[in-house]
Subunit: 330 residues, 2 copies
């Protein structure tokens, strides 16, 4: 089997190396013989793609590499496209993708790191850290006390890999965890699991709300201005999904009015925001630069382990565990 | 038995009420009959102290209430002084305290809350949150990635109630926890426990250092400029003890030089610091206003439960579990 790994052109942190590939192979014995090629530039891509059966690539390169209708000519032997992102919204719409090719996301790389970031953000919001940061800027010492977070209600919208990692940590701290997801399957780390359609009924009880759903046409503006108004006064938000999943201007307005008690966001619109954007200095808002779920030290190893797991399924004619449904977008 | 509860004069948040007293009694059946009085002013204190056998009071009132040599005249029947603080440094030196009177601290009220604050601070430091706060002030989006905190080494100086609570949480996140304490008793939530004398040898391996020891003459300036220099480059600090336990100016210098990778402090010198103090704007420093260990919602209940536990020991002629050794100061 011929595999081509197309690395990012300008981000050596995430460049998958031949040593990492060999290490991953040694963790997954029994796979068929594989020829692997690596490239980070256009010439390397062009040289390898004609023979490749499996492509591992950065998500945001996909639409530019494969204009609509062009893929069968460019990559006639391709069967699997594996990506290094959990969220495939940069590759949507999927009009460039023939039905015969399996598109894989990288779900599973992020759970532990996202769980740590998520519980940190929840504890920061509960402990009034955004207010203390505002006070620190002014040289002001005004205590605001907080109890332990035990018993507080957190609603997690999207309990896949990211949200599930957060649910697990939140339970360790005794929070009451309410998962919201597509469908009705209960999640083992949630005290309650509800379908997306129940969101409007759940919002008034959400002391904490975490967004960890994929960005699709169904989740764009999911946390709209109207839904923000349904949250209880003082509610606190964490966005680890994508900027367009909430109405960012409405969030900033609600922080300024005092309706919301604080927010931590790892994603913005636009991303990055210009230096003069109001998001930087809205009281109660903590901005981090899209770092919540990437465990750099372990990222490539986990990415390759997930690829190997899918290649094993391919060998055995089982459904590929990371295959994305282009109609749903995840 | 006559108990007097002297509440703070000006802090209704921490005023112990008769309802809280009755609730605590109902949680501790079998104690002897008790007469209880409450006051928050000098007149109430003067009216009750002559008959009181047990006094529950705020620590910082003690030296003013009982000038050296005056206690036997003011409170001839007093046997126990219970305080609402874990750290009794505001009452030191203890030259005003007759040997016959048991002085109790409030050790045990703070463990859960301190554990939450401590792990939040460690995760913030690990995730580069102090740098992101500096960047946010400038409107700057520069990602710095962090792996999970698993396997990182944290040294906790003082594994009593506060430090023990942090050790327990740090272990849940897979950190390697090194406790430093008076004596050689191993701590159940530490991977290693070392006596204070070993500190100089331990510092070069401390990726994270947490101060949770009492302030005594032995711990004043414990983290001196010389010891800060022994820490590895990029080490990160958390101070939940007292400001004078570290050399604050040396910490700020080491943040500015880049030797330290960040710090979260809940205590300062002086406390509070004036608005123009450099601590507010030193890069990498996060200041919180002495809120790390006080769980306001549960504080009074836990304080009374600890008092009841000690009164039960008094009734049974057992050693009082919260009795302080004035020679050691804790």
């Amino acid at each position: 089997m011929r595999i081509h790994i197309q690395n990012p052109p300008d981000d050596p942190h995430f460049e998958i190396t031949e040593a990492q590939w060999r290490a991953a192979l040694s963790r997954s014995p029994g796979l068929p013989e594989m020829d692997v090629s690596f490239a980070r530039d256009d010439a390397g891509f062009a040289a390898a793609i004609g023979e490749a059966e499996v492509l591992l690539t950065w998500t945001r390169q996909l639409r530019a590499r494969f204009p609509k209708g062009a893929l069968p000519g460019i990559a006639p032997r391709l069967r699997v496209i594996a990506t290094t992102s959990a969220g495939l919204d940069p590759a949507a719409p999927f009009d460039w993708l023939p039905d015969s090719i399996a598109l894989l996301n990288n779900r599973g790389t992020h759970a532990d790191k996202a769980g740590e970031f998520g519980i940190m953000a929840l504890l920061m919001l509960h402990t009034h850290m955004p207010a203390f940061a505002d006070q620190q800027r002014r040289g002001e010492w005004t205590p605001h006390f907080a109890s332990t977070i035990e018993g507080r209600r957190v609603v997690i919208v999207g309990v896949g890999s990211l949200g599930g990692g957060i649910a697990r940590r939140a339970r360790q701290f005794g929070m009451h965890v309410i998962g919201v997801r597509h469908g009705r399957d209960p999640h083992p780390d949630c005290d309650e699991t509800h379908p997306n359609e129940a969101l409007d009924q759940i919002l008034p009880g959400a002391e904490f709300l975490v967004l960890t759903c994929p960005l699709t046409e169904r989740t764009r503006n999911l946390l709209s201005r109207e839904r923000i108004a349904r949250l209880p006064p003082g509610a606190r938000l964490v966005n680890m999904a994508r900027g367009p999943v909430w109405d960012q201007e409405a969030v900033l307005d609600a922080l300024e009015s005092g309706h919301l008690g604080g927010a931590v966001t790892d994603v913005t619109v636009p991303e990055p925001p210009p230096a003069e954007h109001r998001i930087w200095h809205t009281p109660g808002m903590v901005v981090t630069p899209h770092v919540s779920s990437d465990d750099r030290a372990r990222y490539n190893d986990r990415t390759l382990d997930i690829l190997m797991e899918n290649l094993r399924a391919l060998r055995d004619n089982r459904p590929l565990p990371n295959r994305v449904d282009p109609a749903k977008g995840y």
